[in-house]
Protein backbone atom coordinates (compact mmCIF):
# COMPACT_ATOMS: atom_id res chain seq x y z
CA UNK A 1 0.00 0.00 0.00
CA UNK A 2 1.57 3.32 -1.02
CA UNK A 3 1.83 5.97 1.64
CA UNK A 4 0.15 9.34 1.36
CA UNK A 5 3.54 10.95 0.93
CA UNK A 6 4.24 8.82 -2.14
CA UNK A 7 1.09 9.96 -3.87
CA UNK A 8 1.50 13.54 -2.77
CA UNK A 9 5.07 13.65 -4.09
CA UNK A 10 4.06 11.88 -7.28
CA UNK A 11 1.36 14.32 -8.30
CA UNK A 12 3.04 17.48 -7.02
CA UNK A 13 5.25 17.45 -10.12
CA UNK A 14 3.62 19.19 -13.14
CA UNK A 15 5.20 16.82 -15.69
CA UNK A 16 3.84 13.80 -13.86
CA UNK A 17 0.41 15.40 -13.70
CA UNK A 18 0.53 15.85 -17.49
CA UNK A 19 1.62 12.23 -17.88
CA UNK A 20 -1.42 11.18 -15.82
CA UNK A 21 -3.65 13.30 -18.04
CA UNK A 22 -2.26 11.59 -21.16
CA UNK A 23 -2.67 8.15 -19.63
CA UNK A 24 -6.24 9.04 -18.70
CA UNK A 25 -6.98 9.12 -22.43
CA UNK A 26 -5.33 5.80 -23.28
CA UNK A 27 -2.48 3.46 -22.39
CA UNK A 28 0.85 4.51 -23.88
CA UNK A 29 4.40 3.27 -24.24
CA UNK A 30 7.42 5.21 -22.97
CA UNK A 31 8.20 6.28 -26.53
CA UNK A 32 4.68 7.60 -27.03
CA UNK A 33 4.91 9.49 -23.76
CA UNK A 34 8.35 10.94 -24.52
CA UNK A 35 7.24 12.54 -27.81
CA UNK A 36 4.79 15.20 -26.59
CA UNK A 37 7.10 16.22 -23.75
CA UNK A 38 10.26 16.36 -25.88
CA UNK A 39 11.97 14.45 -23.09
CA UNK A 40 14.42 11.60 -23.20
CA UNK A 41 13.02 8.14 -22.66
CA UNK A 42 15.06 7.63 -19.46
CA UNK A 43 13.62 10.85 -18.05
CA UNK A 44 10.07 9.68 -18.80
CA UNK A 45 10.87 6.26 -17.34
CA UNK A 46 12.01 7.92 -14.15
CA UNK A 47 8.68 9.77 -13.82
CA UNK A 48 6.77 6.57 -14.58
CA UNK A 49 8.68 4.76 -11.85
CA UNK A 50 7.55 7.37 -9.29
CA UNK A 51 3.96 7.12 -10.51
CA UNK A 52 4.04 3.33 -10.34
CA UNK A 53 5.44 3.34 -6.83
CA UNK A 54 2.62 5.65 -5.81
CA UNK A 55 0.08 3.19 -7.20
CA UNK A 56 -1.20 5.66 -9.80
CA UNK A 57 0.06 3.88 -12.91
CA UNK A 58 0.24 0.23 -13.89
CA UNK A 59 2.64 -1.43 -16.34
CA UNK A 60 1.78 -4.14 -18.83
CA UNK A 61 4.07 -5.99 -21.23
CA UNK A 62 2.95 -6.08 -24.86
CA UNK A 63 5.56 -7.91 -26.92
CA UNK A 64 8.80 -5.94 -26.67
CA UNK A 65 7.04 -2.87 -25.34
CA UNK A 66 5.64 -1.93 -21.98
CA UNK A 67 2.34 -0.12 -21.96
CA UNK A 68 1.52 2.21 -19.09
CA UNK A 69 -2.01 2.86 -17.91
CA UNK A 70 -3.78 4.81 -15.21
CA UNK A 71 -4.31 2.50 -12.24
CA UNK A 72 -8.04 2.04 -11.64
CA UNK A 73 -7.96 2.56 -7.88
CA UNK A 74 -5.31 5.27 -7.76
CA UNK A 75 -7.68 8.19 -7.77
CA UNK A 76 -10.77 6.69 -6.20
CA UNK A 77 -10.60 9.31 -3.47
CA UNK A 78 -12.03 11.77 -5.98
CA UNK A 79 -15.16 9.64 -6.25
CA UNK A 80 -15.53 9.40 -2.48
CA UNK A 81 -15.08 13.13 -2.16
CA UNK A 82 -17.63 13.90 -4.85
CA UNK A 83 -20.06 11.35 -3.44
CA UNK A 84 -20.17 13.14 -0.10
CA UNK A 85 -20.82 16.47 -1.77
CA UNK A 86 -23.45 15.03 -4.11
CA UNK A 87 -25.42 13.79 -1.10
CA UNK A 88 -24.92 17.18 0.54
CA UNK A 89 -26.39 19.12 -2.39
CA UNK A 90 -29.26 16.67 -2.88
CA UNK A 91 -30.31 17.21 0.73
CA UNK A 92 -29.92 20.96 0.46
CA UNK A 93 -31.82 21.29 -2.81
CA UNK A 94 -34.68 19.29 -1.32
CA UNK A 95 -34.64 21.77 1.59
CA UNK A 96 -34.81 24.65 -0.91
CA UNK A 97 -37.92 23.04 -2.40
CA UNK A 98 -39.53 22.82 1.02
CA UNK A 99 -38.61 26.42 1.73
CA UNK A 100 -40.15 27.63 -1.53
CA UNK A 101 -43.29 25.65 -0.79
CA UNK A 102 -43.55 26.97 2.77
CA UNK A 103 -43.13 30.59 1.69
CA UNK A 104 -45.45 30.34 -1.32
CA UNK A 105 -48.02 32.73 0.15
CA UNK A 106 -45.53 35.40 1.08
CA UNK A 107 -45.34 36.88 -2.42
Amino acid sequence: MPTATDVYTAIADPTRRRILDLLAEDGRSVTELAEPFEMSRPAVSQHLRVLREAGLVSEQRAGRQRIYRLAPDGLREVDLWLGSYRRFWQTKLAALGEYLEATRDED
Partner: protein
Amino acid sequence: MRTESAIRTETFYPHPATRVWRGLTDPVALAAWLMPNDFQPVLGHRFTFRTEPVPPYFDGIVHCEVVELDRPRSLAYTWRGMAGMDTMVRWELTTVTRDGVEGTLLVGVHSGFDLTDPAQLGGFRSMSGGWGGAMTTALDRVLATIEGEE
Protein backbone atom coordinates in the same frame (compact mmCIF):
# COMPACT_ATOMS: atom_id res chain seq x y z
CA MET B 1 -8.37 13.58 -15.26
CA ARG B 2 -10.23 10.39 -15.90
CA THR B 3 -12.42 10.85 -12.88
CA GLU B 4 -15.32 13.23 -12.80
CA SER B 5 -14.33 16.53 -11.24
CA ALA B 6 -17.69 18.24 -10.91
CA ILE B 7 -21.12 17.56 -9.43
CA ARG B 8 -24.10 18.48 -11.55
CA THR B 9 -27.61 18.61 -10.16
CA GLU B 10 -30.89 19.29 -11.94
CA THR B 11 -33.90 20.16 -9.84
CA PHE B 12 -37.35 21.23 -10.97
CA TYR B 13 -39.29 23.59 -8.75
CA PRO B 14 -42.95 24.41 -9.49
CA HIS B 15 -42.26 28.09 -8.87
CA PRO B 16 -41.41 31.06 -11.09
CA ALA B 17 -37.73 31.74 -11.73
CA THR B 18 -37.93 34.99 -9.78
CA ARG B 19 -38.94 33.07 -6.63
CA VAL B 20 -36.22 30.46 -7.05
CA TRP B 21 -33.79 33.31 -7.67
CA ARG B 22 -34.83 34.86 -4.40
CA GLY B 23 -34.23 31.53 -2.68
CA LEU B 24 -30.71 31.60 -4.04
CA THR B 25 -29.90 35.24 -3.32
CA ASP B 26 -31.85 36.37 -0.26
CA PRO B 27 -29.59 35.88 2.77
CA VAL B 28 -32.56 34.94 4.96
CA ALA B 29 -33.73 32.33 2.46
CA LEU B 30 -30.19 31.02 2.01
CA ALA B 31 -29.85 30.67 5.77
CA ALA B 32 -33.08 28.68 5.87
CA TRP B 33 -32.10 26.01 3.35
CA LEU B 34 -28.31 26.19 3.14
CA MET B 35 -26.30 27.98 5.82
CA PRO B 36 -26.14 31.28 7.72
CA ASN B 37 -24.35 33.80 5.51
CA ASP B 38 -23.71 37.42 4.61
CA PHE B 39 -24.43 37.01 0.92
CA GLN B 40 -25.32 40.06 -1.16
CA PRO B 41 -26.36 39.89 -4.81
CA VAL B 42 -23.47 42.09 -5.89
CA LEU B 43 -20.77 41.07 -8.35
CA GLY B 44 -17.44 40.79 -6.54
CA HIS B 45 -19.07 40.64 -3.09
CA ARG B 46 -17.08 38.48 -0.70
CA PHE B 47 -19.08 36.53 1.84
CA THR B 48 -19.03 33.46 4.01
CA PHE B 49 -21.28 30.57 4.86
CA ARG B 50 -20.91 29.68 8.52
CA THR B 51 -21.80 26.56 10.36
CA GLU B 52 -20.66 24.56 13.38
CA PRO B 53 -16.93 23.80 13.27
CA VAL B 54 -15.86 20.18 13.26
CA PRO B 55 -12.39 20.28 14.81
CA PRO B 56 -9.81 19.63 13.60
CA TYR B 57 -11.08 19.18 10.07
CA PHE B 58 -13.32 22.14 9.46
CA ASP B 59 -13.41 25.60 11.00
CA GLY B 60 -17.06 26.00 10.03
CA ILE B 61 -16.44 28.70 7.42
CA VAL B 62 -16.83 28.52 3.65
CA HIS B 63 -15.29 31.53 1.90
CA CYS B 64 -17.07 32.75 -1.20
CA GLU B 65 -17.01 35.52 -3.79
CA VAL B 66 -19.76 36.34 -6.27
CA VAL B 67 -18.22 35.96 -9.73
CA GLU B 68 -21.32 35.83 -11.94
CA LEU B 69 -24.68 37.50 -11.48
CA ASP B 70 -27.40 37.67 -14.12
CA ARG B 71 -30.79 38.00 -12.47
CA PRO B 72 -32.79 35.75 -12.65
CA ARG B 73 -30.83 33.45 -14.95
CA SER B 74 -27.41 32.63 -13.52
CA LEU B 75 -25.32 33.00 -10.41
CA ALA B 76 -21.87 31.72 -9.51
CA TYR B 77 -19.62 32.02 -6.50
CA THR B 78 -16.34 30.55 -5.40
CA TRP B 79 -16.54 27.96 -2.61
CA ARG B 80 -13.27 27.82 -0.73
CA GLY B 81 -11.89 26.90 2.60
CA MET B 82 -12.59 23.44 3.83
CA ALA B 83 -9.01 22.21 4.06
CA GLY B 84 -7.49 23.38 0.80
CA MET B 85 -10.73 23.17 -1.10
CA ASP B 86 -10.91 25.63 -4.00
CA THR B 87 -14.12 25.07 -5.92
CA MET B 88 -16.92 26.93 -7.68
CA VAL B 89 -20.69 26.74 -7.38
CA ARG B 90 -22.79 27.89 -10.33
CA TRP B 91 -26.57 28.02 -10.66
CA GLU B 92 -28.57 28.36 -13.86
CA LEU B 93 -32.32 28.93 -13.95
CA THR B 94 -34.55 28.13 -16.91
CA THR B 95 -38.31 28.45 -17.14
CA VAL B 96 -39.77 25.10 -18.22
CA THR B 97 -43.04 23.18 -18.20
CA ARG B 98 -43.08 19.69 -16.72
CA ASP B 99 -46.20 17.52 -16.73
CA GLY B 100 -48.22 20.61 -17.51
CA VAL B 101 -46.77 22.54 -14.60
CA GLU B 102 -44.82 25.67 -15.32
CA GLY B 103 -41.81 26.13 -13.13
CA THR B 104 -38.07 26.52 -12.97
CA LEU B 105 -35.33 24.07 -13.78
CA LEU B 106 -32.39 24.79 -11.51
CA VAL B 107 -29.11 23.37 -12.78
CA GLY B 108 -26.29 23.44 -10.25
CA VAL B 109 -22.67 22.69 -11.01
CA HIS B 110 -20.15 22.38 -8.19
CA SER B 111 -16.82 22.20 -10.01
CA GLY B 112 -13.12 22.32 -9.30
CA PHE B 113 -12.69 19.18 -7.21
CA ASP B 114 -9.13 18.34 -8.11
CA LEU B 115 -7.10 15.81 -6.19
CA THR B 116 -4.20 16.36 -8.56
CA ASP B 117 -3.88 19.70 -6.78
CA PRO B 118 -1.57 18.95 -3.83
CA ALA B 119 -3.30 21.47 -1.55
CA GLN B 120 -6.73 19.95 -2.15
CA LEU B 121 -5.39 16.43 -1.87
CA GLY B 122 -3.73 17.26 1.44
CA GLY B 123 -6.96 18.79 2.68
CA PHE B 124 -9.02 15.84 1.63
CA ARG B 125 -6.52 13.50 3.26
CA SER B 126 -6.72 15.30 6.56
CA MET B 127 -10.50 15.10 6.48
CA SER B 128 -10.92 11.60 5.18
CA GLY B 129 -8.45 9.74 7.34
CA GLY B 130 -5.77 8.82 4.86
CA TRP B 131 -4.97 6.96 1.72
CA GLY B 132 -6.53 3.55 1.47
CA GLY B 133 -8.02 3.74 4.94
CA ALA B 134 -11.55 4.19 6.15
CA MET B 135 -12.28 7.12 3.93
CA THR B 136 -15.33 9.18 4.25
CA THR B 137 -16.07 9.36 7.94
CA ALA B 138 -14.63 12.77 8.72
CA LEU B 139 -15.90 14.43 5.57
CA ASP B 140 -19.33 12.96 6.05
CA ARG B 141 -19.32 14.25 9.60
CA VAL B 142 -18.52 17.74 8.39
CA LEU B 143 -21.22 17.69 5.74
CA ALA B 144 -23.74 16.14 8.12
CA THR B 145 -23.12 19.05 10.47
CA ILE B 146 -24.00 21.45 7.68
CA GLU B 147 -27.03 19.42 6.68
CA GLY B 148 -28.26 19.32 10.25
CA GLU B 149 -28.65 23.11 10.45
CA GLU B 150 -32.14 24.47 10.43
